[in-house]
Structures are given as structure tokens and as C-alpha cells.
């Protein structure tokens, strides 16, 4: 025992892996950390909604129409307190919001992931192939970006009709161009680097060069854009659902909940629209805070 403590071995110098450095740099901003924690809390609430919500808002047997439009804090017929009030159907708003978050997050994250796959592949193709392919893809990107997202999504949903898949499709069409432009931009820079040249000299197959060498080095800006686009997608879905063009009435997202409260607002029943809006706001702001910090941390120009 004593022999090991007698000769104190100097601790090996701590080598920081890139990931550790990334984590510590991200955590340097308290507000970003708060954003991340808020967002994780929201995700947990959304995932666990069926187990932690006081009521299942889809189960008509649990709803009591007599409890309709109750003020926040009232005790309902079922015996538990409606902390955030109830809507016109007697649905507990707190449970409605928890379930609504699920749909908002699924639509937001789902469309962002698909748009990222589509956009990143096309952007990579444009950068790697160059020439005609490049200019064709980039013209499409320009065309897409010259129209406001809300309008393009409106057009698509006007033709396709309501539905979660249709909303996701519309959001993908609206958003892929941002990813394509980002990836093409960084891929054009990266492909001139020596390591790509080295890989080409080794006669590696093109697919391997693109996916194993080029793509990982284009990831940082893609992650930043992706985070911001998730927030945008959630906001856009809420707006479309509010306009009555988004998700169907059977799958109420936050936007639809807010829209349901619209008619009761003029008679002073604020809570039906107010609380889902707060939930939406907190979700969007927390994602944006994380995205802002990611942009600073992952930006190579700000590297110390």
C-alpha cells in the first residue's frame, strides 16, 4: 500500500479530445446551457406525456363536457385540478399541451431531418459534380429561397390538404434549400484541401471519399443550420395549423390548440390560447439559444 504512495507518479497531462473541448466551450455560456436544459425538459415531457399527463386528451371517455372552459386552477368533475384550465371540450389544457408538444416536435424534427438528408445530398452532389449539375441544383435553390417559406408551404398544403405527412412534406420542400446551400459552400472549400487530394491519390472510391472524408468535415455548419431550422419548422407548422392548413383536428399540435382558443379569446377566456403559446415560445427560444451558442462554438473563424 505504502510503496505505491511513496513515489508519486506525476499525473499524465490531460489531453482534451475535440469533443471535450466542444462541451466545455458550449457550457461557457450559462444562457445556452439553460436553453439546452429547457429543451431537454421539453423533450422529456413530450416523450413521457402518456404517463405523466393528468388526462388523455384523445380519450373521449375521460373528457367531461360539463368541465368545458374552466378557469385555471379549478377542480373538475374527475377530481383533479385543471392547473391551466380546460378548453371548450372540457379537455385539460396541461395534458393537451403535453400531447401537443409531441406532435409539434415530431413534425419539426422529422421535417428537419428529412430536409437535411435531401438538402445535404444535393448540396454535396452539386459541389462534387460541378458544372451543369451544380448550376441546375443551385438555380433550384435560388428559386426556392426567393419565395417566402410561408407562401410556398401554403401553396403545397392548399393542393395536398391537411395531414401530418403533408405538413412534413411541405416543410421539407421549403427547407431543403438552406441545407443544400450550406453543404455546397463548405464542401467547395473542403474538397480543395490536401486530405481529399491524398484520398484521391490512394484511388479510394468516390463514394468513400464523399461520405467518409468530405461529409464529416462539412458537418459543423450543417449542425448549426439544422438546429435553427428545427425551430423554424416548429414555428411554421404552428402557423400553418393556426391557419387551418396544417395538422388535422384529430392530432392537435400547439398551433391548433392556440387556434381553438381564438374564438373564446374575445370573451376573455385567455387561457385556451395563452398557455399553448407559452409552450411554443419556450420551445422555439430554447432551440434558438442552443443554436446561437453552437454557431459561436463551431465557427472556425472564432477559434482561439
Amino acid at each position: 500500500m505504502s510503496s505505491t504512495t511513496a513515489t508519486t507518479v506525476p499525473a499524465p497531462p490531460r489531453v482534451e479530445t475535440p469533443f471535450q473541448r466542444f462541451v466545455s466551450e458550449f457550457a461557457a455560456s450559462r444562457i445556452a446551457l439553460l436553453g439546452l436544459m429547457l429543451f431537454l425538459a421539453i423533450v422529456v415531457i413530450a416523450v413521457l406525456a402518456p404517463w405523466i399527463a393528468p388526462q388523455n386528451p384523445y380519450d373521449l371517455a375521460q373528457l367531461d363536457i360539463m368541465d368545458g372552459r374552466m378557469e385555471p386552477g379549478t377542480v373538475g368533475g374527475a377530481g383533479f385540478t385543471y392547473w391551466l384550465g380546460t378548453d371548450d371540450q372540457g379537455r385539460d389544457m396541461l395534458s393537451g399541451i403535453m400531447y401537443g408538444l409531441r406532435i409539434s416536435l415530431i413534425v419539426g424534427a422529422g421535417s428537419a431531418i428529412i430536409a437535411c438528408l435531401v438538402g445535404a445530398s444535393l448540396g454535396m452532389l452539386a459541389a462534387y459534380a460541378g458544372g451543369r449539375t451544380d448550376s441546375l441544383i443551385m438555380r433550384l435553390v435560388d428559386l426556392q429561397l426567393s419565395f417566402p417559406a410561408i407562401l410556398a408551404a401554403l401553396m403545397i398544403l392548399a393542393f395536398l390538404g391537411k395531414g401530418i405527412l403533408n405538413v412534413v412534406f411541405a416543410l421539407v420542400i421549403v427547407e431543403w434549400a438552406y441545407y443544400a446551400r450550406t453543404v455546397r459552400g463548405s464542401a467547395l472549400v473542403e474538397r480543395r484541401r490536401e486530405y481529399i487530394e491524398a484520398a484521391q491519390c490512394l484511388a479510394l472510391p468516390t463514394r468513400r471519399i464523399i461520405f467518409r472524408h468530405l461529409l464529416p468535415n462539412c458537418l459543423p455548419p450543417l449542425i448549426v443550420v439544422g438546429t435553427m431550422q428545427v425551430a423554424r419548422a416548429i414555428a411554421l407548422e404552428a402557423t400553418l395549423s393556426f391557419l387551418g392548413l396544417g395538422v388535422p383536428i384529430t392530432e392537435p399540435s400547439l398551433g391548433l390548440l392556440i387556434s381553438n382558443g381564438y374564438e373564446y379569446m374575445l370573451s376573455g377566456k385567455y387561457w385556451i390560447s395563452f398557455y399553448p403559446g407559452i409552450a411554443l415560445l419556450v420551445t422555439i427560444v430554447s432551440i434558438n439559444l442552443v443554436g446561437d451558442q453552437l454557431r459561436d462554438v463551431l465557427n472556425p473563424r472564432l477559434k482561439r
Binding site: 426567393s146 417566402p148 407562401l151 395536398l160 414555428a235 404552428a238 398551433g255 379569446m265 422555439i284 427560444v285
Partner: protein, 324 residues
């Protein structure tokens, strides 16, 4: 220059053509117009006659050519609901939307410029930090929800402003405007502010960045060295120079404002084009949808064309790019 103009015009025309094809396919090929246009009790003979009269027996590409020919003559079909030419309906509602969009732009400049100027001149004061934090909120807040909350507070609880509609209007040049009456102004304030929300944040950020950059310029240092008063340096030397980029961006955003007024008009029941298109989508009034989409496409292509041409006049590199 002429070659550039010509190429750009041809490109714009091509985009209009492609968009018209997309709109045509989207509206006419996805659903069956016969189901909507003809009563279910119609017999086989009546159906066939209607199909012929509407030209629906022709192959799709011929139908498209007919649609294109009519569109060129300004005929985009009649609304099923109002039984009036769709284009006329939209043009009737355009002044209301323009009024709202212009109101929002003016509000964004009136509110955003002073705040941005202050934040740029005193970047470290707590007030400036507050302004910048609020501007982040302006980007994150869902516009329609803020609109609802404005109604909640100012119309329902305080009762200061009317909640919806356009109020009293005055007719000038055959168009109805509400900004000339007291009642109309009261109706305009909330929707315009709501639509301006995003732009206020944008103007604050642009102005702040501009001020901070300009303050370091030699001509500002020189003006101060000359002993000019701080107010004169700020308003004559700095402010004038940052106005150029701010006005450019706000001008470019105008198309987006018109598009986004769809949301604000729905919240405040403002009787403009945006409300019309949402109502039309909900009752499947296809001709109005087509007319609105084509108008918006034309509007955006015109804005983009004007911007490109202006840039090419200012920056010769843009003109020469295609020649390489």
C-alpha cells in the same frame, strides 16, 4: 447591359412559365373540377356537355395551353363562391393588404431605427442589452400568437383598440383606404404592429451593426475632430450612411411582408388578399387560389428582377459573371 437585361428577362419569363405549369397541375390535376362544378343530380348528357364546355375533354397539355392563353388575357377564371372574376376579387382586396404592409414597414422603421441607433451608440449600457435581448425575442415569437395576445390585452381587457376588421374607409381613386379616418387608424394599429414585429427586430439589428461599423470610420473621426456637436455627427454623418443598407433590406423584405400578411390578416380579420386566399383554400375555391398564386408569383419575380437589375447597374461584376 442589353444582353444582361435580355437574359434576365427571359429567365424571369421562364420562371413564370414553370410556376404557371406547377400551379395548373397542382390545382387542376390533383382534384376533379367536375365534381365541384356540376351538381350531383346532373345526368350523363349534362355532364358531357359541361365537360365539353369547360374544355376538360381535351388532353392535359391542350388544357394547359388554353389556361395559359386565358391567363395572358387576364382571365383566371370565375370564383365559385362569389361568381365574379377571380382576378377582380383579388385586385379589389389588394389595397387593404398594401395598406397593412406599408403600415408595418413604416412602423418597423419608426420603432426600429431609434432603438438600433441607441443600441449601436451605447453598446454596453443595460438598456442596449435589453433592446438586443428583446430583438431576439422578436425573431422567436410566433407572429400569430402575438397577434392574439395583442387582441387579448388591448381590445378585450383594456378596450382601447378595436379587435378586428378595417373600420371606416375613404374612397380615393376607386380604392378604399382606412388610414385617412380616425376609426380606420385605430383598426390599423394592431395589425400593422403585429406584422412589423419581425421587421422591427431586423431593423434594430441592421441599424446597430451599421452604427458600430460607421463610428469607426475616418470621416466620423474627422467630423468629431472638427468639433461638430455629437448630435450633428450622429444624425448627419452616421445616420444618413446607415440608412442606405437598412432601406435596401426593408425594401427587399416588402414582398415577404405581403406574403406574411396572410397570417396577420387571418388573426385580425383584415379584409385583404391574404384573408381571401385562406378562405378560398378552406372552401376549395380553385380559381381564386390560382389567381392569387399567379399574382404572387408575378409580384415576386418582378421584385427579384428589379433588385437584380439595380444591383447590376451598381456593380459591374454581376453583369459580367455570365460571360466567363
Amino acid at each position: 447591359m442589353t444582353a444582361f437585361l435580355l437574359r434576365r428577362l427571359i429567365q424571369a419569363a421562364a420562371v413564370v412559365l414553370v410556376m404557371s405549369l406547377l400551379v395548373f397541375l397542382g390545382v387542376f390535376a390533383v382534384g376533379d373540377p367536375i365534381e365541384i362544378l356540376i351538381s350531383p343530380e346532373a345526368d350523363q348528357f349534362e355532364r358531357e356537355r359541361a365537360v365539353k364546355a369547360l374544355g376538360l375533354d381535351l388532353p392535359l397539355w391542350q388544357q394547359y395551353l388554353v389556361f395559359l392563353g386565358n391567363a395572358l388575357r387576364g382571365d383566371l377564371g370565375r370564383s365559385f363562391v362569389f361568381n365574379e372574376p377571380a382576378l377582380k376579387l383579388i385586385l379589389e382586396r389588394m389595397p387593404a393588404t398594401l395598406e397593412l404592409a406599408i403600415g408595418a414597414t413604416v412602423a418597423a422603421l419608426i420603432i426600429g431605427l431609434p432603438l438600433g441607433l441607441y443600441a449601436g451608440l451605447k453598446p454596453n449600457s443595460p438598456v442596449s442589452k435589453g433592446i438586443m435581448a428583446t430583438s431576439i425575442l422578436g425573431f422567436s415569437l410566433p407572429t400569430f400568437w402575438v397577434g392574439l395576445m395583442l387582441i387579448m390585452v388591448f381590445a378585450v381587457q383594456l378596450g382601447w383598440l378595436p379587435s378586428t376588421g378595417r373600420g371606416e374607409t375613404v374612397t380615393i381613386l376607386g380604392m378604399r383606404w382606412s388610414f385617412l379616418t380616425r376609426d380606420g387608424i385605430a383598426h390599423l394599429i394592431m395589425p400593422a404592429l403585429n406584422l412589423a414585429l419581425f421587421k422591427i427586430s431586423l431593423v434594430i439589428r441592421l441599424t446597430r451593426a451599421g452604427v458600430r461599423e460607421t463610428m469607426l470610420m475616418d470621416y466620423v473621426k474627422f467630423a468629431r475632430a472638427k468639433g461638430l456637436s455629437p448630435a450633428r455627427v450622429t444624425f448627419v454623418h452616421v445616420f444618413k450612411n446607415i440608412l442606405i443598407p437598412v432601406v435596401t433590406v426593408v425594401g427587399l423584405e416588402f414582398g415577404g411582408t405581403i406574403a406574411f400578411s396572410v397570417v396577420t390578416e387571418s388573426v385580425f380579420a383584415w379584409p385583404g388578399m391574404g384573408k381571401l386566399i385562406i378562405d378560398s383554400i378552406n372552401v376549395l375555391d380553385r380559381p381564386v387560389m390560382v389567381a392569387y398564386l399567379m399574382m404572387i408569383v408575378l409580384l415576386f419575380i418582378t421584385i427579384n428582377l428589379v433588385v437584380d437589375i439595380t444591383y447590376s447597374l451598381l456593380d459591374p461584376r454581376v453583369r459580367l459573371e455570365g460571360k466567363q
